[in-house]
């Protein structure tokens, strides 16, 4: 009897329940918070609890990232839900990044929710749902799980966008986001049904086996050694090494099979993900949504949501459909170039700050997509580096946007700023103006800050596969886009005005996170090796 019990317990807590331990933790804590808050009648104590609740959400996320960090991946590599979840360093690294950045986001937002009059607890809870969806997206290994994760996160985004019910702009932006999101998921489902129709599987590793095997798993070792033909074996080895070193140059045996139908499906899936990333032909929703949604929601859309979509793209294109390189490289290259172009030229005449930042985010996604389209090892490394820097500088910019509150009776809740509102900020709050201008310099890519390294590494990775024209065009567009970044600095410092706007003073406790983030912009310029090495380790699974 006793022995039976001892056998029973380990089978009860099976190994596969630890596969998604941090996600389990997050979802259980979501439900726990929901129940507890309903029990304590939030309507009465709500305003008191708001800040504490937000900070506890940050604590939950930090604990989740500790759970991820604590795992040494010895066993979990092999345990997964019917191969629908993958656990590798790439997934773990991106999950930790998303957890830490969204914990920072919660800490930042904690103070300003009351000022924005978003006092109901559902706001924080829905953001936590969105983070859960983003984490699941990072580690999903089949199309169904990926779709469900995308739906979980984007349903949360629609609610976040339309959260201020009394403002018609917010409701309008929520509906716009909903309609474009529905179109995007329809594309995703159509494309994945085509892929399923041809391959009979929805699993990424199955795609890898189906399409990649023909060229990579060919083992001539036995063939050549039996015949004693060492020369051919050496040749094969050099070819293999060439493939590993520079995947972009090697013609893969694509003629064995007619890929056109899979390409059609893959293109539809890619387009749906591009809509999520708000890349250039599909970016029109982002302008209105960013402008209309409450500022803290826009903060979340702009900064945190992009990385996991790129993770899904890398899993789709590099892991499962690498042999369809000619297809996805074409689309991602041209769409990347086009969105850099649109992002740099569209922002020139824009005077509203949030729309300006939406254009800027479109062009940044374009740079990241160009790094993605190189189809080399270095390209993905630089993509991760770029996304990391993008998230840090995005946190800085949007934190400043949250901190700036106009001191005016009528516009007490006005967070939508125009450029002219920032005039003479250096007189009223010199430190804030300095940090905003430093961040703008970093985003524009001026050398003593890390944004320069990020942009340069992307351009170098494009030059590395000798796409000189693409590199030249994107560099020229980035020069154009510096205009509107520098113009913000000009408005901050060199405006010939005697009267500027007044802002509410800021408590010193709020500025700690901001100063740490600004310092990190300088620190990573002086010491970028840490990031390069970490990204290198995260990427290694692709080899």
């Amino acid at each position: 009897m006793k022995k039976k019990l001892a056998l029973g317990l380990p089978s009860l807590v099976a190994l596969h329940s630890f596969t998604l331990f941090p996600e389990y933790f997050l979802s259980i804590s979501i439900i726990y918070v929901l129940i507890v808050i309903v029990l304590i009648t939030y309507n009465i104590y709500g305003l008191m609890l708001q800040k504490a609740l937000s900070e506890s959400m940050a604590l939950i996320l930090i604990m989740a990232s500790y759970l991820i960090f604590n795992d040494d991946l010895l066993v979990l590599n092999f345990s997964n839900f019917n191969n629908s979840i993958v656990n590798d360093y790439f997934a773990f690294f991106t999950k930790i990044l998303i957890c830490l950045f969204s914990a920072l986001y919660f800490l930042i937002v904690a103070n300003s929710l009351k000022e924005q009059k978003l006092t109901s607890f559902e706001y924080l809870l829905i953001i936590l749902f969105a983070v859960l969806g983003l984490l699941l997206m990072c580690s999903s290994n089949d199309l169904l799980t990926a779709y469900l994760a995308i739906e979980l996160s984007s349903l949360a985004f629609y609610i976040l966008a339309s959260f201020r019910k009394i403002s018609s702009y917010s409701v309008e932006s929520g509906i716009k986001y909903f309609v474009t999101g529905a179109v995007s998921s329809a594309f995703f489902l159509l494309g994945s049904s085509f892929i399923y129709g041809l391959t009979g599987s929805i699993n990424f590793s199955d795609f890898h086996d189906l399409f990649e095997c023909s060229s990579m798993y060919f083992h001539p070792h036995d063939l050549f050694f039996d015949s004693g033909d060492l020369k051919t074996y050496e040749l094969w080895k050099t070819i293999q090494i060439m493939m590993l070193l520079d995947i972009g140059q090697f013609p893969i045996l694509a003629e064995l099979f007619n890929y056109s139908f899979v390409e059609f499906g893959l293109t539809l899936v890619l387009f749906s993900l591009f809509i999520k990333l708000s890349l250039a032909p599909f970016h029109l929703w982002s302008l209105d949504v960013y402008e209309g949604a409450p500022t803290s929601s826009t903060f979340f859309f702009a900064v945190i949501t992009k990385l996991s979509v790129f993770v899904l793209l890398i899993r789709l294109c590099y892991q499962s459909f690498f042999s369809l390189k000619s297809c996805w490289q074409f689309y991602s290259l041209w769409i990347g170039i086009f969105s850099i172009f649109v992002g740099s030229f569209g922002g020139l005449k824009q005077r509203r700050l949030k729309t300006l930042l939406a254009y800027s985010s479109t062009s940044h996604m374009g740079y990241a997509l160009i790094a993605f389209s190189t189809s080399t090892f270095i390209g993905i490394q630089m993509l991760l580096f770029y996304m990391f820097i993008y998230m840090i500088s995005g946190l800085c910019v949007w934190y400043v946007m949250l901190l700036l509150r106009l001191k005016k009776k009528n516009f007490e809740n006005k967070y939508n700023k125009e450029l002219s509102d920032l005039a003479l900020l250096k007189k009223s709050n010199a430190a804030l103006a300095f940090s905003l201008s430093l961040t703008m310099f970093s985003i524009a890519g001026i050398p003593p800050l890390v944004g320069f390294l990020a942009k340069m590494s992307v351009f170098l990775s494009v030059v590395g596969i000798s796409f000189y024209f693409i590199a030249l065009a994107s560099i020229l567009c980035s020069v154009v886009s510096t205009f509107y970044y520098i113009r913000i600095i000009k408005v901050l410092y060199f405006e010939n005005l005697l009267v500027g706007k007044l802002y509410y003073p800021i408590k010193t406790t709020k500025t700690i996170i901001l100063s740490v983030l600004i310092l990190s912009l300088v620190f990573f310029f002086l010491n970028p090796t840490i990031l390069y090495l970490v990204n290198y380790k995260a990427i290694l699974y692709l080899l």
């Binding site: 839900f81 809870l125 169904l144 739906e151 979980l152 349903l155 609610i159 007619n258 056109s260 139908f261």
Partner: protein
Amino acid sequence: MFGSNMLFYLFSIFLVISALMVVFSQHPVFSLLFLVASFIFSAFLLFMLECELLALLFIVVYVGAIAILFLFAVMMLESKLNNLSKNSMKYVPVGFVFSFFLLTPLLREISIHFENNYDRNSFYLNTYQNWYDLIDSISDVEVYGQVLYSYYVLQFLISGLILLLTLVGVVYLTNTFATQQTTDQSLFKQLSRNSKLSFKE
């Protein structure tokens, strides 16, 4: 067997006709009813192909929930839908252009990859009796249940979380906590509404 083949064609013709009527009928309520009809006909088709679960899902989810919900929404929003039919012809050429560019590669790919079956004219006649099915068979619904709960537990849980999220969001977005009363319909307005939608200005 020939009769069931004929039934298949009959239902598919009805399906196509009702799907066309969804687009072309002027009255939004009628087009929604045609949508319900097209769902029901496709459920019939799926029943004939022995996909019971999908057919039941079509009836329960699409007809029972979504289409009826749309019907209510259309009836509530009657005044704003007047100009819809006038504007719809404006978008027809654009729609044709886009659908042309989407459909031609799609049909081409399908014709390349899925070759014509020569027995397609009598596909329903060619059923053969699998004797194992008679002895040891479980129904379609049961198979789906077993696969869902054994292999796709995680996806099932995620969809549960999605439902929870939508519940929380909808409760927040539709309730007005400030006035402490839920959105209410005025009985007089509801009762004085007539069944015809006015297309006049």
